[in-house]
Symmetry: C2
Subunit: 138 residues, 2 copies
């Protein structure tokens, strides 16, 4: 699902964000190669490795702006770091306890049944399924 720079430009513009050098570079890293989930620090390291000059603060700001714009979603995982996911639709993660490791898995075929109605005054925004795993033999 490779995206052209022009495409990314439009996506940013549609989100009301100026397509600056930094934002485009980060968007390219994020959306250039399939679904991914990253922490701010991950992305910052990646950007530096790709010779993109960005400060960590800008990475944080950009991730938050992308999230507000609906381009990213925060992953519901406990732990000290915040992870962002480029897949904004409902989906699922394996979470390896003790290691803090997070593994995507495709949500096709997953169904959750028997859910109660949403409380008054709220609308369904999405459903996350976290499959917690324990390393074997520990």
């Amino acid at each position: 699902m490779q995206e052209s720079l022009d495409n990314l430009c439009d996506r940013l513009r549609n989100a009301g964000l100026r397509p600056t050098r930094q934002r485009l570079s980060l968007a390219e890293l994020l959306f250039g190669s399939g679904d991914r989930h990253v922490s701010a620090e991950d992305l910052h390291k990646e950007a530096l490795a790709a010779r993109v000059k960005v400060s960590l603060a800008t990475v944080y700001n950009t991730l938050n702006q992308f999230r507000e714009a609906g381009l990213l979603r925060e992953v519901a995982i406990e732990g000290d770091r915040t992870y962002f996911d480029t897949n904004t639709s409902n989906h699922c993660h394996f979470y390896v306890e003790g290691e803090g490791r997070l593994i995507d898995f495709p949500s096709e075929g997953i169904a959750v049944t028997g859910l109660p109605a949403t409380p008054a005054g709220t609308a369904l925004a999405g459903i996350d399924v976290i499959v917690r795993l324990r390393p074997k033999g520990v």
Copy 2:
């Protein structure tokens, strides 16, 4: 599901934790009245309100010890605070985006189907379902 002090004492002992005044009081608050989920600060305030003398640091330490002992579970929710749940079995939460509000709901009747096999070297520890909600009309 009221528990006696003796019961709590035994639970702590079985977990390898000395039943100290503070731990017993916190355990009483946590397990004394059905399933609940609290943050460290919540519990600290509650303890103070109940005239239990504990420091916030001890509340943190105690919650972590309880978690390690399997008496509590950390709730998989994004956000700045960590929540602990006295219900250590699989279950579900409503999470109201924007408000950070967390609502338990009973997991009876909930089923998740179509899950892939667990990755090699890991065993299933549990499944969390987070139903994300958006305040209506926002």
